[in-house]
Symmetry: C2
Subunit: 422 residues, 2 copies
């Protein structure tokens, strides 16, 4: 009996990573290896929103060279969104719309590439088959620079962001060291990770040997105390001549308030939007009198494809391929993730987890990955983090800049009427 | 008649660059090629301060491998300072001390590696021979990420910082584009260059084709007007869906005040130390309602050796070598600089300028390098900038991070008494 090929739909959700598009390329390439089972690979523009709006594109025209180029591009080529899906009883209209869109385009496979919040959406989409009888395999593809998904040893996207911040901090620390005797004595780098300190911990890798910068890591899991902080900075400057600090954007005081929420008011009386790094720099300058410099990496760390980790890139491609394999086996409501077999040498493979076990949960940096005084990382933390930044995977450069193909995706003609996304 | 080899002294001054140590390595390597003329190459710790303090190190133990490694390290390996030298009549004591230190160590050549302010110091040092009869050749070696030295087509250090900001902004823009429909619509990157807009202009290179991000460049040479700025951002978001901005740290209002000097006061009544990027982001959010992200690259751009420009590296090494050659010809009070012979293909060589023609002067971004509306760069600006970021020159990596040799420099035993640096 001849099986009929059904189409696949790929979608990206949440914040992008340096290697998210590498997962996209891997899903597309792997799907093409099974032409008898999978027809076209469509992609939704802006994740869930594109599904609801029937705003789909066709990836069929991408050449093998295009796919290789796509794997070198940061960002989310198809666009992304932070919108989630309510339960079927809360929002039956959207659920019916999704089934209509999938059916209109003969879509039998959905690959939803996202983090914690997006896993919840993917999990809900996976219930469509059971609830409505529409035959559908939904497989999640993990990604997040925050590394805060449970169920996986690490998250594709994290290793590259980790490599970005560790490299940048190692370099900047050499600059601070050079000038410390007569100028800047303290440097603060603010990194992402509002609740989970994985990227802050990655900054600790910049210290190749004991005593190297960075000297202080401020994890969001550890309550910020300005007196302790200032005492530690003061002592470090006396002992080392300078002090390099990495701080999570999400550090909080003991009353739970974010340090980035300044108590200062602007001319309209609104609380001033801060930034942890400038706050800490001002504190040090005011209280200790040291000249400070500070940097906020923000999107630079999330999009830093030029310093992507080869290990991370391999992870991102592997979960993309594995997602297709799982779907072809009839998998639904699951996600391929990274399993670590050993750290030294680093060996890993792919295992499968249930989306229901992942969705909306959050994984924090364990205390055992911090040093005893909580100002740095432990040997165990280092052993965990180090393999994830291993290997360089530069994009091709042209005229001194990363060269990206100019990919065009034809829109898939709409077959349904409009839909009002509420 | 046999000439007696005299020692050389190398010093670094001002802010470091990604390729400053490549100049250092080139000076040392070139000096070694002339053992009959140049004895040891000493280096001063922390620039001028090390000369005054007789705090010198000996580079003789560096192997060829060490020198190759030194050329891959950001920062200033020997330390730097921003201290300048007064005139001989203002500070005869320091002048005498310098002559004493040079004489005590048989130093006949000084290579002073710095920017505008440092060129003034080098110029003054070059007057020692004429004023005191002590035989000395002082040759400057140019460097600055600001590219604001007159007399040279470009400054070693600039090309790498330019490549850093252009690459980072190109990558971050892809992230913004990915999320713009439902989340962040405006992104601001703050770059260095307090008075001169060269690095801001370099951000314009991130736009590979017309219409690409960045959409707005805010040069320090152009008065900042918040109404015009907001109107332009608003229009860009309507037309493009998002808006990417690069802003110099030094932009000023029409009254001459820096935008980074916030009018807000902290709890102590002090003016709040700002940052241009967070200021602009807040302005856009308050006035236009768009979600903004912002980044401040700070030292990351100055130390970004991992994304150094191969052209810039070649410049840095060439001026180092040329400085030694000039000194051996008896040159004094001069500096080798970059002369551009053509932009496409990029061809250049070294010419020599008088330090007196450079010192303390400052070169601004010409209006002809800006687009007619002054929100971007012109074709002429692009043609100037583009070759300077050409080529990649990665340092070696180990365990996922730039690998730097652990260089040790024995201190040169002091021959003089202490000196009180005022």
């Amino acid at each position: 009996m001849k099986s009929v090929a059904r189409n696949a739909l790929y979608a990206q959700a949440g914040g992008a990573t340096a290697v998210l598009n590498a997962s996209a390329a891997a899903v597309i390439a792997e799907a093409r290896r099974h032409p008898g089972r999978i027809g076209k690979v469509f992609a939704a523009r802006d994740g869930l929103l594109g599904i609801l709006a029937e705003d789909l594109v066709d990836t069929s025209r991408l050449t093998t060279t295009d796919l290789a180029g796509l794997a070198t591009m940061p960002g989310a080529i198809f666009g992304t969104c932070r919108a989630g899906l309510k339960t079927r009883s809360e929002d039956p209209r959207s659920w019916q719309r999704i089934v209509d869109v999938l059916a209109a385009h003969q879509i039998g496979y959905v690959f939803y590439n996202g983090g914690n919040g997006s896993s919840d959406t993917a999990q809900k989409l996976s219930e469509i088959a059971a609830h409505t009888g529409y035959p559908l395999c939904v497989v999640g593809v993990p990604k997040t620079i925050d590394n805060d998904m449970v169920g996986t040893d690490s998250c594709p996207g994290f290793g590259s962001a980790a490599k970005y911040v560790a490299t940048g901090l190692r370099e900047a620390a050499m600059e601070v060291h050079s000038m410390a005797r007569t100028s800047t004595k303290v440097f603060v780098l603010e990194v992402m990770g509002r609740n989970a300190g994985w990227l802050t911990a990655a900054c600790g890798l910049a210290a190749v040997k004991a005593g190297d910068a960075p000297h202080l890591l401020l994890f969001p899991e550890v309550t910020f105390n300005s007196q302790r902080f200032l005492a530690k900075v003061k002592e470090t400057v006396i002992r080392k001549g300078f002090c390099v600090i990495a701080a999570s954007e999400g550090i909080r005081r003991s009353d739970g308030s974010h340090v980035s929420e300044s108590t200062n008011r602007d001319s309209h009386g609104n609380p001033q939007l801060g930034g942890v790094a400038p706050y800490l720099a001002r504190l040090v300058t005011e209280k200790l009198g040291h000249k400070c410099h500070w940097a906020v990496a923000d999107y630079l760390q999330r999009a830093g494809r030029h310093i992507a980790s080869a290990t991370d890139l391999a992870h991102a491609e592997a979960v993309g391929r594995a997602a297709v394999e799982l779907a072809l086996k009839g998998g639904n409501g699951i996600m391929p993730v990274i399993r670590r077999k050993s750290s030294l040498p680093y060996r890993w493979n792919i295992k499968t987890v249930q989306l229901s076990a992942i969705a909306v949960r959050e994984r924090f940096l364990p205390a055992s990955f911090m040093s005893a005084d909580r100002w740095g990382i432990s040997a165990r933390g280092r052993s965990y983090l180090s393999p994830l930044i291993e290997g360089e995977a530069l994009p091709p450069f042209r005229h001194g800049l990363p060269a990206y193909p100019d990919l065009q995706f034809p829109s898939v003609p709409r077959r349904l009427g409009g839909f009002d996304i509420r």
